[in-house]
Symmetry: C2
Subunit: 134 residues, 2 copies
Amino acid sequence: MSDQKDILAANARFYSAFAESDLAAMEEIWAREAPVACIHPGWTAIAGRDAVLDSWRAIFDGPAAPRVRAFRPSAHLLGDVAFVTCYEAVGGGLLAATNLFVREGGVWLIAHHHAGPTAEAPPRDAPDGDGMIH
Amino acid sequence: MSDQKDILAANARFYSAFAESDLAAMEEIWAREAPVACIHPGWTAIAGRDAVLDSWRAIFDGPAAPRVRAFRPSAHLLGDVAFVTCYEAVGGGLLAATNLFVREGGVWLIAHHHAGPTAEAPPRDAPDGDGMIH
């Protein structure tokens, strides 16, 4: 399904920007028209495009920009909005993530990211979906 | 804004069902047409309406159904989809939550819930939004 593929590609672009600490790429992929928010692990919720991009700048500029590897993405389509659940291996820890995307001008852009620690790894027999992303 | 109010009311209904361990109410408020998913704190992602409702049944039937109090909800509208960020006080712990809603037949129903531990409380000077929910 093309939408599914496009959404997973948008999710992969997000993690590529994250893994490479690429703020310019982050600026490209966050929504411009939709309201934007972000819940980094252990942080309070951040609302607004500028504040969210500032938070990524702070993370990328920090003394230890985290290495991230995302896996087992699963995309769910709600018309011109979609959400992806996936897992993130970050600095030896495991996080579960929700990424919300919105279609603006025909392009899937991210409107919300929420990652939080999870104790449990995905079951071994779970399908890999589109596999590893970075 | 009426949509904002309706979305916050749907969020409140979700936490009311959660706080009261009311499975029938949970069945009412989860989306029927949209794809549904849920990431409970520390769990892997659950996909599909039946599996999500089974997870709530397991939580409600468990030896210690958690007491939950949600606060500081903030609603973000994306057409017929909306997401709410809020905080949950559960059993002495603090969680950050993302709840995704979709309008089906004119009613806002929940399509995705993600709650994960957060170390940080919302700042004291943050607005209370529509205040406490349970």
